[in-house]
């Protein structure tokens, strides 16, 4: 009887420990078979940062370090395995095994919670220890961290790649020329116009105050038609 109970207990423990589902429905695993960088769905990455990271990754490949990069901004980027969002150290080996059938590329995974790697040397790992992720910049913050990380990983692995400055993105773009003159001069004009409109509406409200009761009585009849 004891042996039977022990067996049942063992089966129950194994069942509880077994994974509930095998999965392969995380978009990076499919996309990285065909290109070197997986970019997040939302928010979209700025074009300038995307071009810079693509060129850095291409330069790394030419230097003999064909790195794959997965940028995971939200659980949506993980499709059917959102439980790994926020856990880059768990997701990196998982993703590495999914895409390993073609070749065992070095892999860099960046989430707002941190950076993790798979199939990289200890030196490469060490080289990116100090990189900070600006999570407030969302997807662009992940790309900026990758632009910094890839040359460091490649160089530390014996494949020198020149570091590239991270371009500013969005409203911080120097090419934009600062605040638009339309905003500088247009905003006060708009405020004055709004104030005038409010004042005019108030005057009109005072004039029509006497008629309000009649309108209220008619309103239900209009609504019922």
């Amino acid at each position: 009887m004891r042996a039977l109970l022990a067996l049942l207990l063992g089966v129950a423990v194994l069942a509880a420990a077994a994974p509930a589902a095998l999965a392969d429905a995380d978009p990076p695993s499919d996309v990285l078979l065909l290109q070197s960088v997986y970019y997040p769905y939302q928010p979209p990455v700025s074009d300038k940062l995307r071009r810079t990271l693509d060129s850095v990754v291409a330069a790394s490949g030419k230097a003999g370090y064909p790195v794959k990069v997965a940028l995971v901004e939200s659980a949506v980027d993980l499709g059917a395995i959102p439980q790994l969002f926020g856990k880059p150290a768990e997701y990196a080996p998982f993703l590495g095994r999914e895409i390993a059938f073609k070749s065992k590329n070095p892999l860099l995974v960046i989430m707002p919670a941190g950076i993790a790697t798979n199939n990289v040397s200890a030196k490469a790992q060490q080289a990116i220890q100090g990189i900070k992720i600006d999570a407030s910049k969302q997807s662009d913050g992940l790309v900026a961290a990758a632009i910094e990380a890839v040359p460091k990983m490649a160089t530390a692995s014996g494949h020198p790649v020149a570091a590239v400055p991270v371009p500013s993105s969005g409203s911080g773009n120097k090419g934009g020329g600062g605040t638009s003159p339309l905003i500088v001069f247009g905003a006060p004009v708009l405020l004055v116009a709004l104030a005038a409109l409010v004042a005019a509406l108030r005057r009109r409200g005072d004039d029509e105050e006497d008629d309000d009761e009649d309108e209220d009585e008619q309103a239900p009849a209009e609504a019922s038609t």
Binding site: A18, P19, A20, A21, L22, A23, D24, A25, P27, S29, D30, V31, L33, L34, Q35, Y41, Q42, A75, V76, L78, G79, A80, I81, P82, Q83, L84, F94, L95, R97, E98, I99, A100, F101
Partner: protein, 176 residues
């Protein structure tokens, strides 16, 4: 939410990475009741994952999109015309134009130009004595896999030649 378990990769042969379309879809011809048209209104998402012999079969980008295509890496950005069921990325994410619906999984495979039956799944045949197993939202679909409804946020898993515990949910991108 439990651990996702051991990862599964794409299978090693060309059959695991089938082409995105056959001749009718390449020409933009009518396929059954479904035509190929210019960009329409809002689309909704569904997800399909395929396994053969416990390895992933890729659902490619560009299913239901007639060339010439505008591609960017793994993604197809634009096409001459699109069918009401299409893929723009190789992740199994389907984009459905709900207006000419409802659709079935048979519609997807007809547009894709790949076989689907109780014994066939794309370029694979079920081993003797076995059938294609279909799951909708994690539950076994007992009927013909072609009749499986393709509706908004349907999560579909098809398997042949070995069991892979199916996932029941999928995080869809905003707007789908």
């Amino acid at each position: 939410m439990p651990s996702p378990g051991p990862p599964i990769g794409v299978g090693p042969t060309a059959a695991y990475m089938p082409m995105a379309r056959g001749a009718p879809a390449s020409a933009g011809d009518r396929i059954g009741r479904l035509g190929c048209a210019g960009e329409s209104g809002r689309r909704v998402g569904a997800h399909v994952e395929l396994f053969a012999h416990r390895r992933v079969v890729v659902v490619p980008a560009g299913v239901g999109m007639a060339p010439p295509l505008k591609a960017s890496g793994a993604y197809v950005r634009a096409a001459r015309c699109s069918y009401p069921v299409r893929t723009r990325e190789p992740t199994g994410l389907l984009e459905l134009d709900p207006r000419p619906g409802p659709f079935t999984l048979g519609d997807l495979f007809a547009i894709w130009g790949q076989p689907l039956s109780a014994r066939r799944l794309a370029g694979f045949r079920a081993p003797p004595g076995t059938r294609v197993a279909a799951y909708l939202d994690g539950r076994l679909w007992p009927g013909d896999p072609r009749a499986l409804p393709l509706r908004r946020h349907a999560v579909i898993v098809l398997e042949l030649g070995g069991h892979v515990p199916p996932h029941a949910t999928y995080r869809f991108p905003r707007g789908l």
